[in-house]
Symmetry: C2
Subunit: 236 residues, 2 copies
Amino acid sequence: MVRLANNHISIDCVVLGFDGSNLRVLLVKRSGKDENGEYNDMKLPGSLIYQDEDLDEAAMRVLHELTGVKDVPLQQFKTFGSKDRTRNLRDIVWLERAQQAHVERIVTVAYFAIVKLDAAMQRLVNRESAEWVPVGEVGTLAFDHNLIIAEALKSVRREVENNRSILFDLLPKKFTASQLRTLAEIIHGKELDVRNFHKKISQMPYVVPLEERQKGVAHRAARYFKFDRKIYNTSR
Amino acid sequence: MVRLANNHISIDCVVLGFDGSNLRVLLVKRSGKDENGEYNDMKLPGSLIYQDEDLDEAAMRVLHELTGVKDVPLQQFKTFGSKDRTRNLRDIVWLERAQQAHVERIVTVAYFAIVKLDAAMQRLVNRESAEWVPVGEVGTLAFDHNLIIAEALKSVRREVENNRSILFDLLPKKFTASQLRTLAEIIHGKELDVRNFHKKISQMPYVVPLEERQKGVAHRAARYFKFDRKIYNTSR
DNA sequence: ACAAAAGTGTTTAATATACACCCATGA
DNA sequence: TCATGGGTGTATATTAAACACTTTTGT
């Protein structure tokens, strides 16, 4: 049994991926019983803090346990400590069963992470009772996790404003101009002109065109691009 | 005696004001004894969380107790929970005396507030064993409070980028163009061209020129301006 | 008269926006 | 040959940046 720092402080992770047309958030399944019998719903991956770890370490641990990946940059974005964030009876019962102790209030420090939603990540769906849910289709989650996701999206948008390289963390290594544009449109919340967007890409030295093109598509094959982080870091 | 939610979660406030040429941060004095005898140093105003209050409420309470002002917008910007943020022996002894209990770790949720450093605020210096210290002259503080201030300044800079009205919260009701420019230079960390700055002001409908001018200065008297929040809110 | 800060325009460069048609490919 | 999405250029408007001298006031 791991020693906890205490049972008042937790972290939750909003892990975001991009499937080519939608942003998706990684949720874990939760089940229990309440006055209406058994229920199944979902929550953000999270954990209480262990005795010997920092907040950031706890967030990395949760992400690593769930996805197997290490070294994913996690960013703390907000702490939620409303006294009625555990107002829902179902949540209280679930917590006290999980912790086998009376729980008064849990303050949670929320992190977001940006990952490439590749085949390995997709496989989580079965293996870990986790699921990649499009952010537009997230149902009612445990605790205030819907609020946490909403705030995460705001923070991600702000972050992208002053660090464009985050967009490329969401894309596969090779991507088309229209994938990049679709993603940018989702993040900025508005449509972007195709020609102006191509112009902009061509002025970004760190978005390098490849010779490789799409295959087997029923239309003109799109060129692939890659993101060159070295050039990005030196070019500003 | 007030009931605490627990002794693991606190809030700290980075309260910032502008004296016309420097940003200043509000610090409170701390004294105690360590192996070298008595010491006096400073810390950020802060508090553990009470049983019946949210994080934001705790921050407002601390600010109100110290300054007497209510309704100052406080903004949560980061949570500090490194396990060695209470690494310093002096801090541990001080905490355990203050709380009369063993303390393992305290996670603190940090807020910043922006206030007008007017005469009433200045008077705090004596009355409350508090002091307005220029951010460039802050010595070594308790805990990780130097780090917290540094992060607060980063957050304020980011905030000002997408909400210019914050600048005007730091200025007196009537201010000159050069006060506004000096403040903007401090926040942005670079000098601004005087002519371009005047041009920009004149294009901001919410910065309204007054007929009143400086008096008794040994040079051409500067015009005063005021900030009109109504116009600001409707003009974008 | 002088010291000290206030105030004032123009030119140029960079960036953002609007807009319509042809191209390549598989079915 | 048709349906589908890929790819391209020019003109205009907006915003940012560079730059030097005159004005007002108290001492």
